[in-house]
């Protein structure tokens, strides 16, 4: 019934489709490099209508015949104004000139800035400007887009050493992280200290934490959509940076001018290389080291205005080695992601845009350890083959219809352990993979009902199937197999349908203020379970199976959005309530087991959760001084029958107060300053409340789950970036006069100070036990580990 109503609504909303309309369409590009510009707003003055480019820089709008003034305004570009007569379909490709004069910049600030945040139906959707991210203070000088996302309200960091982020009470697995449409399953390097995204290769980043439009699915909490640069279509460039712990290099350029381009970007840390000479061969830690590297590559080819092809890929690896000669112990832990996507854009006529994508995505983790003659290896991972097709249809100026379908074939390796002692190899059952289909189709319409009311109504239908070969074991408490149910290759083991309506609306109070509301119902079929107390690469991805039901949530949100001073200042407050079902955790005390007559999902337990909160956001969008203040008040609880005696307990990252202040200031053409301040209540952890002795051994009696809150976290970071002169003066040979020409080498130096006032923030708390319980001399002391004191860093960046 709901579906019928929905389609009736769409069809009834398209009366103007039968009138005579002409289509204005085209691409918006950077006039210097030929890069397409994403989410670039285009205004048609006389029609009082506007549209934004999609992620490929394409726009299309159908209007009555007439003469129109077209205005385009995009940060860091000169405004574009043109007049066109629309008496037939018009293809208008717009090239924006990079902003060069202060006067123009001033004009754009005061008169023409956009009010997308009050106009659109989007809630909890934010774009991050990569150029702004680059001048913000960065940990160890490494620009990190994920860390910047964590400055936004409603997005919480897990603390230092944790690049997993937590959106509105959801877990880190509930964020769909896309790099050129390929899902990235582990976005962290160095156990979370850095993200896998090399800012040099990124063009645009957008996060949706509110009502997720129907074209996104498969996760409950948020979408972080990251697009790589296409590469310069006109000139060859190299850019890079040399920092304290890593260096990076990006090369880009045309393969065929204005038709095809490439970009290649690499980064590697060299802590291991720097520390190697310091760890002598007789040191107990000889052989300990860590490094990571990543490589981004992208090629694209414009066959015509109607057809474009993109091939992009990412490959990154972390390698951690630990050696303790005293204990005869060695450990090797490599992990990493690989993604590849091949995309084809095609334009059917001027109003129907298609993007067909083939994606490969892989994440794997391995842990190898040897102690004397015993060795053990643990592996886990997830691999996807993914095909999708998305259409955007622009029937008229009031409607923007999207529809599409997606098929993912998943191969999970939840846990595989091999072990040997001397020449004896233990039979642990080998690798047991789990196969699954994830299929979805969606349709949505973002449309204007009246001048005041705009709606985004969508529906997503999903289907998940766990496939054979698979054997389901039922076991007793000791581990004896009670029953065994085998499934053939391709046989459906478990199947779930997901009915996912999405609804968002905007009510415009005035040109600068609106109220928005949204409801979304999402299904998630892949799950991350963490054995450890913190988020680590040892966390394991599981599919939904006959035991593991899909995670489901319903989110209700409402918000007030207001812009001031011609959109120079933006303010919003959003309230949300979220209800989560079928959340998963490891059973208390579970450890990775063997695969003999065993199902890895048997160690999981299931529960529910809820979260509610209020998010306040104030932003100065433009100008030499800009930035934002975000504050979130929230509460997040979990209820698991098998954990905490079934009593509700706060989520690990249930944080009542969370504040971020971010600012950048451009003093002059040489100096730009950045500052950030964060405050958040401490994470909730489970601490031993008591101890006791059995058989001479002291044991812990842990208190209620997550009942102890670590000290508050707060920190300020500062940065200063100095840009060398862009121009040099030469004597013009023809005129004999001085003239300014752009230098070939552009460079800048960024000095950043992490934790500027040297706050001792808690990373973890551990127990130091001394004495003997049986002798009455035992003392337990809690010790807080702080990872980073005040930490200055300097990075030299260059481009030529």
């Amino acid at each position: 019934m709901k579906n019928l109503l929905f389609f009736a609504l769409i069809m009834s909303a398209l009366p103007s489709f039968s009138q005579t309309k002409y289509t204005l369409s085209g691409y918006v590009k950077d006039g210097k490099t030929g890069e397409s510009l994403i989410s670039c707003p285009i205004y048609i003055k006389e029609a009082k209508a506007g549209i934004s480019t999609n992620v490929y820089g394409f726009y299309s709008i159908s209007l009555d015949s007439g003469t129109y003034t077209i205005g385009v305004n995009y940060p860091t570009f000169d405004p574009y104004i043109d007049t066109i007569t629309l008496n037939k379909d018009v293809r208008l490709n717009i090239e924006l000139k990079p902003e060069e004069s202060e006067e123009l910049a001033e004009f754009t600030v005061r008169d023409e800035r956009t009010n997308d945040n009050t106009e659109s139906t989007d809630m909890g959707r934010m774009d991050l400007d990569i150029e702004q991210v680059k001048v913000l203070p960065a940990f160890m000088g490494e620009v990190d887009v994920l860390k910047t996302v964590q400055f936004l309200p409603g997005v919480q960091s897990g603390g230092e050493g944790n690049s997993g982020f937590y959106v509105r009470g959801g877990g880190p697995d509930q964020n769909l992280i896309l790099l050129d449409e390929a899902p990235v399953y582990n976005a962290a390097h160095l156990f979370g200290f850095f993200s896998v995204f090399n800012a040099d290769a990124i063009k645009n980043m957008e996060i949706i934490k509110g009502t997720m439009p129907a074209n996104y699915g498969g996760r409950l909490a948020s979408v972080l959509d990251i697009n790589m640069k296409d590469g310069d279509y006109r000139d060859y460039h190299a850019s890079g940076g040399i920092g304290l712990i890593s260096s990076r290099l990006t090369v880009e350029g045309p393969i065929k001018k204005d038709t095809s381009s490439f970009i290649l970007s690499g980064r590697r840390t060299y802590i291991d290389v720097l520390t190697k000479p310091l760890i002598k061969e007789d040191s107990p830690f000889f052989g300990t080291g860590y490094y990571f590297y990543d490589l981004n590559a992208k090629l694209n080819y414009r066959f015509s205005d109607k057809d474009r092809l993109f091939a992009s890929g990412y490959f990154g690896r972390d390698v951690f080695n630990f050696a303790s000669a005293d204990a005869g112990f060695q450990m090797n832990v490599p992990w990493g992601n690989a993604t590849g996507s091949l995309r084809w854009n095609h334009l059917f006529g001027d109003r129907l845009f298609m993007n067909a994508t083939a994606i490969y995505s892989d994440y794997d983790f391995a842990f190898g350890a040897t102690q004397d003659d015993f060795s053990l290896r643990l592996e886990s991972g997830i691999r996807d083959a993914n095909g999708k097709v998305d259409f955007t249809w622009y029937p008229n100026e009031d409607h923007n219809v999207k529809f599409g379908a997606n098929y993912i074939y998943h191969i999970f390796t939840p846990s595989s352990v091999t072990a040997e002692q001397g020449e004896t190899e233990f039979d642990l059952g080998g690798k047991k993979k789990i196969y699954a289909n994830e299929i979805s189709a969606y349709v949505l319409d973002d449309f204007k009902l009246t001048d005041r009311i705009k709606m985004n109504v969508g529906y997503r239908q999903s289907l998940f199937q766990q496939l054979g070969p698979f054997t389901r074991y039922e076991k007793d408490a000791v581990g004896n197999v009670l029953s065994e149910t085998p499934y053939e290759r391709g046989e459906v083991v478990a199947q779930y349908f997901g009915y996912e309506p999405r609804f968002a609306m905007r009510y415009k109070i005035s040109d600068s203020a609106s109220i928005k509301a949204g409801v979304s119902h999402n299904y998630q079929y892949v799950h991350l379970a963490s054995i450890s107390g913190i988020s680590l690469p040892t966390d394991i991805w599981f599919p939904s199976t006959s035991l593991v039901k899909p995670q489901i949530n319903t989110q209700y949100s409402i918000g007030f959005f207001k812009n001031f001073q011609k959109n120079l200042y933006e303010f919003s407050v959003e309230l949300y309530y979220k209800d989560m079902n079928n959340l998963i955790e490891y059973a208390e005390g579970a450890e990775p087991s063997d695969n003999i007559n065993n199902n890895v999902d048997a160690d999981l337990v299931f529960g529910t959760g809820y979260s509610y909160g209020a998010e306040f956001f104030f932003k100065k969008a433009y100008g030499d001084f800009n930035g934002w203040v975000g504050y979130t008040w929230s509460k997040t609880m979990r209820i698991f029958e098998e954990i905490n005696n079934g009593d509700p307990f706060p989520a690990k990252y249930d944080r009542r107060h969370d504040l971020s202040v971010v600012a950048t200031y451009k003093l002059n053409e040489h100096w730009t300053f950045g500052a950030a301040f964060v405050f958040g209540n401490g994470n909730n952890i489970t601490m031993p409340a008591g101890y006791y002795v059995v058989d001479g051994q002291t044991a812990f009696d842990y208190g209620p789950r997550n009942s102890f809150q670590m000290p508050n976290y707060h920190r300020a970071d500062l940065s200063a970036t100095w840009y060398a002169d862009e121009f040099k003066t030469i004597i013009d040979e023809e005129t004999g006069k001085e003239k300014k020409v752009k230098k070939k080498l552009q460079s800048s130096v960024t000095i950043s100070v992490y934790n500027a006032y040297n706050r001792a923030n808690p990373f973890v708390i551990f127990i130091d036990t001394d004495g003997d319980a049986a002798a009455g001399t035992i003392t337990n002391t809690a010790k807080q580990v702080t990872l980073f004191p005040i930490l200055p860093a300097v990075t030299w960046n260059f481009k030529f």
Partner: protein
């Protein structure tokens, strides 16, 4: 070697490369729980130590240890045929010269008897002494609460062979090795104890009591019905001399291995407890309580032991 190795390595890295400071934690007031440390061994009477758990960051001294013993509880053990109410005995009222025997009997260091009044519930009723392949129920009534448990003394699973082997790089030190043939039924638990009988310089044996080395409690999850060889390090001892090496036996040692079959639930408890002790609240590990087999809200474990002894001389 399990996943906790990675957590230990992580903590080692973190503490080496970071700043650590002592902090005061404001934890909610702790309500002590009854702790049951109960054993019944083949041919021996049941012994049940009842204590109260202590607040984790509370003040401790010898009094708090002594005061942790729970007195005047009603402790009833039954094998289904014979039911007996155990009596409470305390070390302060032992006949002179029996302390070593009692310490061994209770499984506590002999020194502990000297400075603390240790109390245990047991019986002299020989009909209640442990027998192979027999189930034993335990019922405790204390301070208005009732706690129950069940264990079994399983059949003995003796080691096929036991021997000492010197480590080429560490001579005259080495480890004890054994071959075990696990029965074909899943769910067999084991515990391995060692003791050196040869005399120390003071004329007393190197070890008064049996000790548990690292990895001494295990069950047949990974080796059900298999025959395999394994090596074990020596348990800690505070009576080592300068010729001894921690974790190693030495050529010349006379070594007794006490190899016990225990129920799966008990082996799981002890293995878990060992892991928990190694992790020692390591924040990277999972914070979970040891899986008790006591019903009613108490901590601890009630275990039946079937025991075999092997004595070897390291050479």
């Amino acid at each position: 070697m399990r996943l906790n190795q990675i957590y230990i390595a992580l903590l080692a890295c973190v503490t080496v490369f970071s700043c650590t400071k002592e902090i005061d934690l404001e934890l909610p007031e702790y309500e002590p729980k009854l702790v049951v440390d109960g054993t019944i061994e083949e041919g021996l009477p049941p012994i049940v130590l009842l204590t109260k758990s202590q607040a984790f960051f509370g003040e401790t001294d010898i009094n708090s240890f002594e005061n942790s013993f729970v007195h005047d509880a009603v402790v009833i053990v039954s094998d289904g045929t014979t039911t007996d109410t155990l009596q409470e005995f305390c070390s302060s009222s032992l006949p002179p010269g029996t302390d070593t025997l009692v310490a061994q009997f209770l499984g506590v260091p002999v020194e502990a008897l000297a400075f603390a009044n240790i109390c245990a519930y047991t019986t002299l009723n020989q009909a209640m002494f442990g027998q192979l392949n027999t189930h034993y129920s335990l019922r405790i009534e204390s301070e208005g609460n009732t706690y129950t448990s069940m264990t079994k003394i399983p059949n003995r699973v003796p080691l096929d062979s036991v021997w000492f082997e010197g480590e080429a790089s560490s001579l005259p030190h080495g480890f004890v090795y054994a071959i075990l043939s696990d029965p074909d039924t899943l769910g067999n638990g084991y515990r391995w104890y060692d003791k050196r009988l040869n005399l120390a310089d003071d004329g007393f044996p190197k070890d008064f009591n049996f000790g548990l080395p690292f990895g001494a409690s295990f069950f047949d999850e990974f080796f059900n019905a298999e025959t395999f060889e394994f090596g074990v390090a020596r348990s800690d001892s505070d009576r080592d001399d300068e010729n001894d090496r921690e974790g190693f036996f030495r050529i010349g040692d006379t070594i007794v291995i006490k190899f016990c079959s225990v129920p799966y639930e008990s082996a799981e408890y002890y293995q878990f407890a060992e892991t928990q002790a190694i992790n020692n609240g390591n924040p990277f590990s999972s914070p979970a309580n040891n899986p008790t087999n006591i019903e009613g809200g108490a901590l601890g474990v009630w275990t039946g032991y079937a025991v075999t002894y092997d004595t070897i001389v390291a050479q």
